[in-house]
C-alpha cells in the first residue's frame, strides 16, 4: 500500500499532475463562465429579434458548434504570436490565451443550444407574461427561470467540452510543465513517452470529474422536479 502511495506521489510530482489539474480547472471554469454569459445572452437575443441575415447567423452558429478546436487553436495562435496582431499582449503560452481559445470554442455551443431551445419555448412564455401584464424586465427573468434546466444543460455541455479539449490548448498553451499543462495535454505527453499506466490514471481522474459534474447536474434537476407541485 505504501509503495503504491509512493509511486502515485512520484507520478504526481514528475509530470506535474497536480498543477495540470489546477490549470484544467481554472481554465475550464473561467472559459465556461465567460461563454455562459456571452452565449446565453447571444442565444436569447437572437431568438428575440428578427433582422436581415438572421438565418445566416444561425447557420454560422450551427457550423461553429462543430468546428474542430484545433482550427480555433491555430487562429488564436496566429492572433497572439509575437508577430501577430495581438502579439504585444504576450498572451501566447499563457493560461489567459488558453481561456480565450476555449471561450471561442464553447460560446457557439452554448448560444446554439440556448437558441434552439428558446425558439421552441420562448414565444409561449412571452405570451404568458404578456397576459399577466409583466414588465419587460419581469418577462426576461421569467424566461430565464422557465428555461433554467436547459441553460444549465448547455453550460454543463460547454464545461464538458472545455475539460476534454486538447488540440487548441496544446497549440495556444504549449503544454508547458507547471504553467499551461492541462490534464489532456499531460495525457498526450505521457502517451508520447510510452507511459500508459499514469496516462490512464489521469484519464480516469478526468472521467471522474466529468461524472461528478453530470451527477451534480442531475441532482439539481431532480431536486427541482420534486419541489414543483402544481
Amino acid at each position: 500500500m505504501i509503495e503504491i502511495v509512493a509511486a502515485m506521489e512520484r507520478f504526481f510530482m514528475n509530470i506535474g499532475a497536480m498543477d495540470a489539474i489546477k490549470v484544467t480547472l481554472i481554465m475550464a471554469i473561467s472559459s465556461t463562465s465567460i461563454s455562459a454569459v456571452v452565449g446565453i445572452t447571444f442565444g436569447l437575443l437572437l431568438e428575440r429579434h428578427n433582422f436581415m441575415g438572421k438565418r445566416i447567423i444561425i447557420r454560422i452558429n450551427r457550423t461553429l458548434m462543430g468546428v474542430p478546436p484545433v482550427v480555433i487553436g491555430l487562429l488564436v495562435y496566429l492572433l497572439l504570436m509575437r508577430r501577430g496582431p495581438l502579439g504585444s499582449l504576450s498572451l501566447l503560452f499563457t493560461i489567459q490565451g488558453m481561456i480565450l481559445a476555449q471561450t471561442l470554442i464553447i460560446t457557439p455551443i452554448i448560444s446554439g443550444m440556448v437558441y434552439t431551445h428558446a425558439s421552441r419555448s420562448a414565444p409561449s412564455i412571452r405570451q404568458f407574461a404578456k397576459t399577466m401584464g409583466a414588465s419587460k424586465w419581469q418577462t426576461n427573468v421569467l424566461m430565464i427561470k422557465e428555461m433554467k434546466h436547459e441553460l444549465y444543460f448547455a453550460i454543463v455541455a460547454g464545461f464538458g467540452r472545455s475539460i476534454s479539449e486538447v488540440g487548441a490548448v496544446m497549440l495556444v498553451g504549449g503544454n508547458i510543465k507547471g504553467s499551461t499543462r492541462t490534464m489532456t495535454t499531460a495525457i498526450s505527453l505521457l502517451k508520447s513517452q510510452g507511459i500508459f499506466t499514469e496516462g490512464v490514471t489521469l484519464g480516469l481522474l478526468l472521467l471522474l470529474m466529468a461524472f461528478i459534474l453530470q451527477w451534480m447536474a442531475d441532482y439539481f434537476q431532480r431536486e427541482d422536479t420534486t419541489d414543483e407541485n402544481y
Binding site: M81, R82, R83, L92, F93, M170, G174, N175, I176, K177, G178, S179, R181, T185, A186, S188, L189, K191, S192, Q193, G194
Partner: protein, 289 residues
C-alpha cells in the same frame, strides 16, 4: 424538394471524394513495375528523421530497390522503443545509444546497427550570447542570467541529450524560472523558442528545415555548435521475432541491409544538400560515434 436537393448534392460530393481517393490508390499501385511488391515494413522512429523529410526521401528509393513499402510513425525515442517492446512495429530507428543497447540486451531487439549521425546545435536569439563552441559556457550563462530556455521535456533522444549535458555540468536547470518544458516535438519546441525569444537545444536537421520552410522566418540563430558532446548517433534495430512472432522480420532486415549498404549510405549523404547547402545526416554505418 428542397431537402432532396441537399441529399443529392451531399451524395455527389461524397462520391467525388471516394472516386478521388480510389483514383490515387490506383496510381500508387502502378508505380515501380520493376520490383515485385513485397508488403509493408513498419518502423518507429524519432521526430527528427521524419520532420526533416529524410524518410520521405529514402522510402521511394528503398521501395524501388527492394519492393518493400516503408511506413513509419514518428515519436520520441522513449515511445519508439516502447512500441518495439510491444511489437507494434517491425524495427526502430532512434538515437539514444544506451537505451538502444538496453533494448537489445533485454531481448526486444535483435542487434543494433549504427547508421548515421547528425549533430545538435543550441539555437537562440543573436543577443546576448555570442556564437561559440563551448557548450558549458552557454548553458552556464543561460542558468546564471536566467535566460529563457525551452526544453523538450518529453524524454526523447534530444531531451536525454540535453539532460545529459546539464548532469555532466552538475547544474540544475529548473532553478531558472525561465526554463520551460514543452513536452512536444522538436518543431513545436523550436517555434516556441522563437516566440519566447529563448534558447533551445535542437538537432541541426529539424532546425534547418524549419528555418527554410516556415511561413514566417525563425529569428533563431545557431549559438553553439561543433562540440563533441553535441554529436548524435542513430542506430537501427529489428524487433526480435522470437518475442513477437508477428513482426515482419524479413522486411526489417531488408531495410537494415539496404540502409547500411553503399547505396543507402550514399542516399543519406545526398539528402538535403540541394535544399540546405549541407547534408543533414552524415552516414557512418559500421562505426559508432
Amino acid at each position: 424538394m428542397y431537402k432532396n436537393w441537399q441529399t443529392i448534392l451531399l451524395l455527389f460530393f461524397v462520391s467525388l471524394f471516394v472516386v478521388g481517393c480510389s483514383g490515387n490508390d490506383g496510381a500508387m499501385g502502378e508505380k515501380s513495375p520493376g520490383v515485385e511488391e513485397k508488403g509493408k515494413v513498419m518502423m518507429a522512429t524519432t521526430t527528427s528523421t521524419a520532420d526533416t523529410g529524410l524518410l520521405d526521401f529514402l522510402a521511394p528509393i528503398f521501395k524501388e530497390t527492394t519492393g518493400y513499402t516503408l511506413a513509419w510513425t514518428a515519436v520520441g525515442t522513449g515511445e519508439a522503443l516502447k512500441m518495439g517492446e510491444d511489437g507494434q512495429v517491425d524495427l526502430v530507428l532512434v538515437h539514444a545509444k544506451s537505451s538502444e543497447e538496453a533494448f537489445v540486451a533485454e531481448g526486444y531487439g535483435v542487434e543494433r546497427f549504427p547508421v548515421m549521425y547528425n549533430d545538435f546545435v543550441v539555437v537562440g536569439p543573436k543577443e546576448p550570447i555570442a556564437h561559440t563552441e563551448d557548450i558549458t559556457a552557454v548553458f552556464t550563462r543561460i542558468t546564471e542570467e536566467k535566460l529563457p530556455f525551452i526544453s523538450r521535456g518529453d524524454d526523447s533522444g534530444t531531451h536525454k541529450k540535453e539532460k545529459g549535458i546539464w548532469n555532466a555540468m552538475g547544474m540544475d536547470p529548473t532553478t531558472n524560472p525561465q526554463y520551460l518544458e514543452t513536452g512536444q516535438g522538436m518543431g513545436a519546441t523550436l517555434t516556441m523558442a522563437d516566440e519566447k525569444n529563448g534558447y533551445c537545444l535542437s538537432d541541426r536537421g529539424t532546425y534547418l528545415k524549419l528555418k527554410n520552410d516556415a511561413t514566417l522566418t525563425l529569428e533563431l540563430h545557431v549559438v553553439c555548435e561543433g562540440a563533441s558532446d553535441l554529436l548524435n548517433q542513430y542506430g537501427v534495430i529489428a524487433v526480435n521475432p522470437q518475442i513477437h512472432p508477428r513482426v515482419n522480420f524479413l522486411g526489417a532486415n531488408a531495410f537494415i541491409q539496404w540502409i547500411c549498404s553503399k547505396e543507402g549510405q550514399e542516399a543519406i549523404k545526398g539528402f538535403g544538400v540541394e535544399e540546405y547547402g549541407q547534408a543533414l545526416f552524415i552516414p557512418n554505418a559500421g562505426e559508432d560515434r
